[in-house]
């Protein structure tokens, strides 16, 4: 052992300088063969021999993002035969036919006749253009597939050595889903999917990189992939974080596919600056949906369930009016009604027939009309994603429209548990097949079922689970009107557009709500039900043209209501988890009314103002607190401070360059002159407003 150790030390003493010298020579060589673009914001370089991205540097903020040229990468591609045999192409083993600067701000890269790991030469061409426009670095690419294989996935661009701005600084991956901004430590690997977020933020301490899939139509799945490879003590396989965007294009033999451009922007600051990049791009394509006038006023919702798959029939149609009176008496403006349709909540989907156990169609129609006549909008909960496997409709017809995997097997969603110990223990749930939204025949079914909702005369609907398709990404089911596989999320917007068109024939004011719709779906579903999230993403993007609902179920739930005020949610009263009367929790109801009264009184700030999260003011306090900032249309600011501690706190609100300040609270809504120093009792909130 000692001898081995000695040999190793001698080897290290002699070999390391040689290895370092060789390494230096190889790097110098790589640098010598670089093709480089740069402007005031970026430096990006590619190895002329391999096309690998060898250098990526942001000038402002200063960040050497890809620092070790020898770890540079170009692309990765996977082709599949008809029997799903995989044939992988590694970019580093290909010789490009072009790595050239074609304009002062563009580089062209091209690889042809790719040699796969199985030794086949595939007549596939990957062409890429890398462009610099101000702070935007854009990677465009196309695949020309003249082979007999299907090109299922392409990774491009690839960063072989994603580095933090300073050694050991943290790297977080942010992305949006369900009205929130989620984040993960990406240093050991992570994947963000475009089915949830069109962008990811690579966030470090005081800077970040915004990476965007520049196509808001969901043409295919793109993954933002972070992979850790290697070891700290290995020179042959050094520790590194790789980052690439994986395009699941499924390019059929003898076809060409244009990849969605990938845009990178580097920014200084925290995730808000990254969100501002997205907000800027979003403004170029996002079509604001129509929001009826009543929904633009300060108001609250409630929620009630009628029955479940366990057939408890808790609220018959004819009893609905009695509830309606309570809601109207308490100023509630809309009610989301769950489990009104046949089978109850989460059974018999996608049928939107009424349930005989609850009453007749006419009874339900009339009850809706009566409640709406009291001023309470009825919003019918429904799901069109699934087909309940227990129904004869599924067995006789709907199975034709279901999604299947590459082996022809049905995908399933597991169902949900209700009421009885048996179901709550997960026994006997109604499992569901996943319907293919790309299938025109299923679109027709969905449209027909939606017509049943419209016929009932409600003022809106809420599509629950609009935000996902269970485990399905692609479906291989044949006979659905296209050559599989189909990317199921690509069907979301076309189907939504069809339903919107159908509703518009009844009334443009018929409101579309959804459960946490992805941001692009907010073009059709301006009401999103997410509950309270950690970062109110929707409100930050556009506060006044959409509504985000947050449920309140506690019996004296000041904590939830204060956060609802702070983050500009709409109150949705849910006593007994939406199985009770709104008068069952009078303390919650009373404080909710105070919150809405305060919002009415200071509407310019708290309702019509733009929600800025924590941007634009700062707060300090001697206890735990949270705060948010609103910019009123006249430019004046308001700060909502919530005491989240169990004791009273003294807080200091600093609004830069503020004029005179006043303060008010839900419990004491008359504005009082303020200096910014405020006392906030436990379980309370205060608003400081610029005059």
């Amino acid at each position: 052992m000692k001898a081995d150790s000695l040999i190793l030390r001698r080897f290290n003493a002699v070999a390391w300088p040689i290895l370092l010298a060789l390494s230096f020579l190889s790097i110098s060589s790589a640098l010598a063969g670089e093709v480089t673009l740069q402007n005031d914001f970026w430096i990006v370089a590619f190895d002329s021999d391999s096309g690998a991205l060898t250098r990526l540097e942001s000038k402002s903020p200063q960040w050497t993002i890809e620092g070790r040229p020898n770890l540079g990468a170009s692309f990765w591609l996977k082709a599949e035969s008809a029997d799903h045999q995989e044939n992988v192409v590694l970019g580093q083993k290909q010789k490009p036919v072009a790595v050239e600067q074609i304009s002062p701000h563009q580089i062209l890269l091209q690889w042809q006749n790719l040699v796969s790991e199985r030794g086949d030469t595939l007549p596939i061409t990957l062409t890429a253009t890398v462009s610099l426009t101000n702070d935007m670095l854009t990677f465009d690419a196309s695949v020309k597939n003249e082979s007999s294989l299907m090109v299922s996935a392409v990774e491009f661009p690839c960063l072989g050595d994603l580095s933090p701005p300073t050694p050991n600084a943290p790297l977080w991956g942010h992305h949006t889903f369900y009205g929130d901004l989620k984040h993960d430590d990406i240093s050991r690997g992570s994947t963000i999917m475009s089915k949830q977020s069109l962008f990811c933020l690579i966030q470090s301490t005081n800077a970040g990189i915004y990476v965007e899939m520049k196509d808001p139509t969901q043409p295919y799945l793109l993954n933002f992939v972070f992979e850790h490879h290697g070891f700290d003590d290995s020179s042959a396989n050094p520790s590194r974080l790789e980052f690439q965007t994986t395009h699941y294009i499924y390019a059929h033999p003898h076809t060409s596919v244009q990849l969605a451009p990938v845009v990178m922007r580097c920014y200084a600051g925290d995730f808000h600056a990254g969100l501002d990049c997205y907000k800027e791009w979003r403004s170029t394509w996002f079509k604001e949906p129509h929001l009826p006038d009543w929904a633009r006023e300060v108001h609250s919702w409630t929620m009630i369930r009628m029955t479940t798959p366990e057939q408890d029939y808790g609220l018959p149609y004819t009893n609905f009016v009695q509830y309606g009176r309570e809601w109207a008496d308490n100023g509630v403006r809309a009610v989301q009604v769950v489990g009104w349709n046949i089978g109850g909540q989460d059974a018999d989907d996608p049928s939107q027939d009424t349930d005989p156990g609850l009453g007749t169609w006419q009874q339900w129609h009339d009850a809706i009309a009566q409640v709406q006549a009291m001023g309470v909008k009825v919003i019918l909960f429904a799901k069109l994603n699934w087909a309940d496997l227990t129904t004869s409709w599924y067995s006789n017809e709907l199975y034709k429209y279901q999604c299947t995997d590459p082996n022809g097997k049905r995908y399933e969603q597991g169902g949900y548990a209700y009421v009885t110990p048996t179901q709550l223990a997960g026994i006997g749930l109604h499992r569901r097949a996943v319907m293919d939204f790309l299938d025109p025949d299923y679109q027709a079914v969905a449209n027909e079922e939606f017509q049943k909702i419209l016929a009932l005369g409600s003022e809106g609907w809420l599509w629950d689970e609009i935000c996902h398709h269970a485990d399905v990404l692609y479906t291989w089911a044949p006979g659905h009107g296209y050559t599989p596989p189909g990317y199921i999320y690509r069907g979301d917007m076309p189907l939504s557009a069809q339903l919107r068109a159908a509703a518009d024939k009844v009334s443009p004011d018929f409101i579309f709500a959804g459960e946490g719709p992805e941001d692009w779906l907010m073009q059709y579903y301006p009401v999103s039900e997410t509950g309270i999230t950690s970062v109110p993403f929707n409100q930050y993007l556009d506060t006044t043209n959409s509504l985000v609902l947050a449920g309140v179920s506690g019996f004296d739930d000041r904590e939830a209501l204060n956060l609802i005020l702070m983050d500009r949610y709409v109150i949705q009263y849910e006593p007994y988890y939406y199985k009770g009367h709104i008068t069952d929790f009078p303390m919650t109801l009373a404080y909710g009314k105070k919150i809405d009264d305060l919002r009415r009184r200071y509407k310019d700030y708290l309702w019509d103002g733009q929600f800025r999260d924590t941007i634009g003011a700062s707060v300090t306090a001697d206890g735990r607190f949270r705060y948010s900032v609103f910019d009123a249309p006249n430019g004046k600011r308001a700060v909502v401070v919530v005491n989240t501690d169990s004791k009273p706190i003294s807080a200091m609100v600093n609004v830069p360059n503020a004029g005179s300040l006043v303060t008010a609270t839900p419990d004491d809504p008359d504005a009082q002159p303020a200096t910014g120093a405020i006392q906030i009792p436990a379980r309370c909130a205060a608003v400081v407003m610029e005059q």
């Binding site: 548990a417 009421v419 110990p421 004296d556």
Partner: protein, 289 residues
């Protein structure tokens, strides 16, 4: 008739010993349990050395609950509170026999089902042994027994948690002062926990000074869950704090605790439930179980 009433009253008082007139009680130096003689509900349960009045308010007492789905309607519970017990008898110093017959279900009328329980107090340990005789055409899927309708912590400023084994480790789950709902809120009406021990057959109710063991003598041949339900809910969905009062907005605040037996007893069958043992565990969690 008058003499008979007096005699019955004297007999009743001598059986119950103390507490409510309608209670039938078992006790030793460590535990006390009472049952309402009309409904068979547990009306009082006390851990004497710890001065812990576990089941406090008789009006919230529950006897049992079962579910017998109908062919055309699955929701068909039988609530013990709505039944009159056919028998609540103290058959010896340490044993009470309870029996309910011809159970009135919520949606299927009166069912020819009887449920009988023998509760014994021996060596500081309560045993709830029960038998279901199902003469109906329905399947009885689940039986909740024993069923505590008002399961209290030792005091308002105390704490309480339930511990079950998960991956070989005792996993505590707070019951008080915070109670987090652990089932999908869409499926329940109250914050609920359904604990299912892995590779064991008990649930420990832990307080700062005491532990109650609730379990079966061995792993039963069917599924058993230990279910907690916080009524009417919590103060806030953010904090999950339980109201520290007997009522909130005029609604009783109480924690229900029941042992749910997934028996799936077919039509015209008799099922002996796994006995449920309840005992003090002095010395806390370190004591050999």
């Amino acid at each position: 008739m008058k003499h008979l009433v007096i005699l019955l009253t004297i007999a009743f008082v001598s059986v119950s010993g103390h507490l409510h007139a309608g209670d039938v009680t078992l006790e030793d130096n460590f535990l006390l349990i009472s049952f309402d003689s009309d409904s068979g509900a547990i009306s009082r349960f006390e851990d004497k050395p710890a001065h812990w009045l576990v089941e406090r308010r008789p009006e919230l007492g529950v006897s049992f609950r079962l579910f017998a789905p109908l062919p055309n309607r699955r929701y068909n519970p039988v609530f013990g509170q709505k039944q009159h017990a056919a028998e609540v008898t103290k058959v010896s110093d340490n044993e009470i026999r309870l029996r309910w017959e011809n159970l009135a279900s919520e949606n299927g009328g009166v069912l020819p089902i009887s449920f009988a329980a023998d509760v014994t107090l021996t060596n500081r340990m309560l045993t709830f042994a029960a038998t279901l005789k199902n003469d109906s055409d329905l399947t009885v899927e689940t039986i909740d027994y024993p069923y505590f309708g008002d399961f209290n912590p030792p005091s308002r400023d105390s704490s309480m948690s339930a511990c079950t084994t998960v991956k070989g480790q005792l996993q505590p789950d707070e019951l008080y002062p915070h109670f987090r709902n652990e089932k999908g809120y869409w499926g329940v009406t109250w914050p609920t926990k359904m604990l299912e021990p892995q590779n064991s057959h008990y649930c420990l109710i832990q307080t700062p000074n005491d532990v109650l063991y609730v379990g079966t003598p061995h792993r039963p041949h069917y599924r058993v869950q230990y279910v907690f339900e916080q009524h009417p809910g919590v103060i806030s969905g953010i904090t999950s704090l339980v109201p520290q009062s007997d009522e909130i907005s005029g609604i009783p605040v109480h924690l229900e605790f029941r042992v749910c037996h997934f028996v799936f007893a077919g039509p015209h069958s008799t099922t002996i439930l796994a006995p449920v043992l309840v005992k003090r565990q002095p010395g806390g969690l370190r004591t050999r179980l």
